[in-house]
Symmetry: C2
Subunit: 348 residues, 2 copies
Amino acid sequence: MVRKVKDGGKDESQDDVEAKPLLDVPTRHTAGFVDRGTEKPQWKIKSVVTVALTLLTSSQAILIVWSKRAGKYEYSVTTANFLVEALKCALSLAALWRIWGTEGVTDNNKLFASLDEITVCTVPAALYLVKNLLQYYIFAYVDAPSYQILKNFNIVSTGVLYRIILKRKLSEVQWAAFILLCAGCTTAQLNSSSDRVLQTPLQGWMMAIVMALLSGFAGVYTEAIMKKRPSRNINVQNFWLYVFGMIFNVIAIFVQDFDAVMNKGFFFGYSLITTLMILNHALSGIAVSFVMKYADNIVKVYSTSVAMLLTAIVSVFLFSFHLSLAFFLGSTVVSVAVYLHSVGKPRR
Amino acid sequence: MVRKVKDGGKDESQDDVEAKPLLDVPTRHTAGFVDRGTEKPQWKIKSVVTVALTLLTSSQAILIVWSKRAGKYEYSVTTANFLVEALKCALSLAALWRIWGTEGVTDNNKLFASLDEITVCTVPAALYLVKNLLQYYIFAYVDAPSYQILKNFNIVSTGVLYRIILKRKLSEVQWAAFILLCAGCTTAQLNSSSDRVLQTPLQGWMMAIVMALLSGFAGVYTEAIMKKRPSRNINVQNFWLYVFGMIFNVIAIFVQDFDAVMNKGFFFGYSLITTLMILNHALSGIAVSFVMKYADNIVKVYSTSVAMLLTAIVSVFLFSFHLSLAFFLGSTVVSVAVYLHSVGKPRR
């Protein structure tokens, strides 16, 4: 078996999986692969994946607007989600195939993993499944515009769980920036029916908070998995995450859309735009994985927030959207938050 | 002529008026009276005057809401403004009277000043006069809710002129905080008609910007006057500022309300609440002077912004106001701005 040895020491790619509990992730500046003089390429890949995620997320929202204009969703969302996971799985395998061809099979890129490494991959998929099922019930308490507003709790929950679980430090200014990001995104989405959110009953608030915690926890847990073994090839990690994504989406199809799929068929209502959306979701999903491995959840949240603003601006040209004063104010606050996050780095 | 030389002990209180041009104000940390081991009382008086200004400004807004509820303004606003200036003038004289009794008449508290010292006091009063006259014309281009929004330009203009004219430095984080303060105050004021501001014609924007510059310049110029000669008794400086305030308000009465005052009389429509408002305006005006002398324009802007939020919160209890989601978001942004301003102090 080929083992790469760095710095003359013994291979640490294996023992960092087995010796420590999963959530005891190496922190960014002590993690092996950052400090080994690879700071610059690291910075480069971080920027590339962040920009890719931002662009893919904004085009995602534009595709959604486009498909809504073209008519209602005719296809079943659960089958589309399953196909997204399947496509991501296939793309990861294809990437691995190429890598095996050039580099050969090593301990870091071999597909088969320890039971521990595979088991943890079920967690994010299961969390997302629970969250998606909850989503069907929350609308009993919360109307759609209010739900848009409440989804911004995700930003806060991600920040808090990132701090608590991954034990990463944000500086005071970065915390302030994070609160601003949340307030700015919400402000940018304000419209005449937003105030209804204040009439949301307690159950609605609780469910929204639980959902935010579930999705925040899934994100943070995925980051823990990706960072746990930095030298592990990302496509292997993705493969296992997406396999469980597929499995859990099969469960969702059975729970939610069994009758429709049985009566109308799996691909009922699919169109060109549905195909484009599945392709886009798959690519954004992979971009998220890369951001988790090479950057972090905080970067992901900033990236998707900026994407939301980009979407609105592009929509002005594509769909002659009207931008509101609230949008300009929210965008200003989000921009200042991005700036403060970057100038506010904790001092080492 | 008495001259103080720094570190050598002679009086410098006079030459700082005569030797340098007005706007070459001593910066805060090199100004004589801060560095003379009086940092602590300085910090104390700064807090007291800031809190006083915040409370007076918020009660001012509450009195305005109260008077609107009681009926329309029946009295002429120009006569009320004149009385405010007259009352401030009287209060300054009364304070001086006491000081002369205890300390005797000194060079710093004598009422008669050099022609230079008196001339500069005409500038803020004249600027406010022009601004108040413009206010009558801007409504040809801008509707009332839009004007409320555009008035937030004052925050930006004060910050920019403070930097340019007084040459005070704000740190990067403090500049970011200042932009947030402006965005947050505007967000907190958003309502269903706010978006109309986007239809404001160019002339409306220009006039709003000119008015913001006039009021920003008046504020910054007042600070320059107050800080130019730190050892000068503040009541003398106030006296001369308010004398010209009275004179320029007489002009405003002639220009705007001559007929009404002639036909109905000077005190037509005055009520208990009018009297309370005049008293409140006079006290807040004096508080502004103290903030200018012992703190600065930036503190004043933060103080009045926080006052706006306090007013809204108090109005919930007094007038069963409804707070909007926009108000909560704006308040969050303003609070973060206040926090960032205080943690973001430039390093010395």
